[in-house]
Symmetry: C2
Subunit: 187 residues, 2 copies
């Protein structure tokens, strides 16, 4: 039995990523974003949606670059704090004990403590209302070697302890249910 | 220490939603999508990215409507199966034991077994490459009354057992870490 509600943003669970960015003078910032996701496999493309009044919005619009940093249980406090506070008032790197790592294909830094950083170039900005969507090409992916199996070379993102965001709450990753396609694979 | 990779789709964890849709003759289908997310808070908007060769792509393009159905542990098998098989070959509702529920603001059905269904109208189709992005307005949200606290009226999505998808694997929801803003709230 279902109850009808007024329209709302109810897709969950979502990633809560820390986006690092910089303006053309090299001033940088971190903003936490849950309105993010993959929009195309080939070429690899993603989006983030940001309110125009946010400090990071102007930086990204100016340089058309940003880096998406995945977040873990160890980064949960920083993830929340960077989503609530403004870079106009704080150096979020210093306040959260986060380390800048130079970008490879972009000029903005990535977050060293993140297990995986995704360097992006904006291809389109779509104003929608409260949020504008930055659609971006993935230029480079930087993965923490700690999660690469030395024998197989496979990257184990499951071991990174990624967190997710669901309807106002952050959650730990739970147990694995199965692998994509497991319901049709023969033993 | 990080290792550089070639560009890839690495934002995780993501929701794995079952999208229900229909063509103008009333033929319907279900497609599982992880390339989905919220793109705007006000008005409430979301997207799904779908390959043009998928059976559901033509249906959605024809009617410009679809419904996003969130998925749970109980729906994990159906979620995987509907992501691998094609509606050209199977009636996915019958094969997965899923029940059609009439749409309220859209003509396509939603999935009764899903804890939350989001009825949407497409506002824009953006071809990106392997995937085309359907950007859509949320018209109506249908929530299972089982997860509404009878005393407070609050909806507890955490109790629904939502699943997430991360780098080729499905996972259960883990324990809660905190509520949005907990790092700045005073006791």
């Amino acid at each position: 039995m279902k109850q009808d509600w007024k329209p709302g943003t109810m897709i969950y669970p979502l990633p809560a990523v820390m986006v690092s960015c910089a303006d053309s003078k090299g001033n940088d910032n971190i903003i936490t974003v849950a309105w993010t996701g993959t929009v195309c496999t080939n070429p690899a493309m993603l989006y983030i949606s940001v309110r125009p009044e946010r400090h990071s919005y102007t930086m990204i619009k100016e340089t058309m670059e940003f880096t998406v940093n995945l977040t873990t249980e160890d980064l949960a406090k920083a993830t929340d704090w960077c989503g609530v506070k403004s870079g106009r008032d704080f150096d979020k790197w210093a306040e959260c004990g986060l380390t800048r790592e130079s970008g490879v294909t972009v000029r903005c830094p990535s977050i060293a403590e993140s297990p995986l950083s995704i360097e992006c170039r904006v291809t389109e900005i779509i104003p929608l209302g409260s949020h504008h969507m930055f659609i971006a090409r993935v230029l480079n992916v930087r993965a923490d070697k700690r999660y690469i199996n030395p024998e197989t070379g496979a990257f184990d993102l499951g071991a990174a302890g990624l967190i997710n965001y669901s309807h106002g709450h952050y959650y730990r990753q739970g147990d694995e249910i199965g692998r994509f396609g497991w319901t049709v694979k023969k033993n």
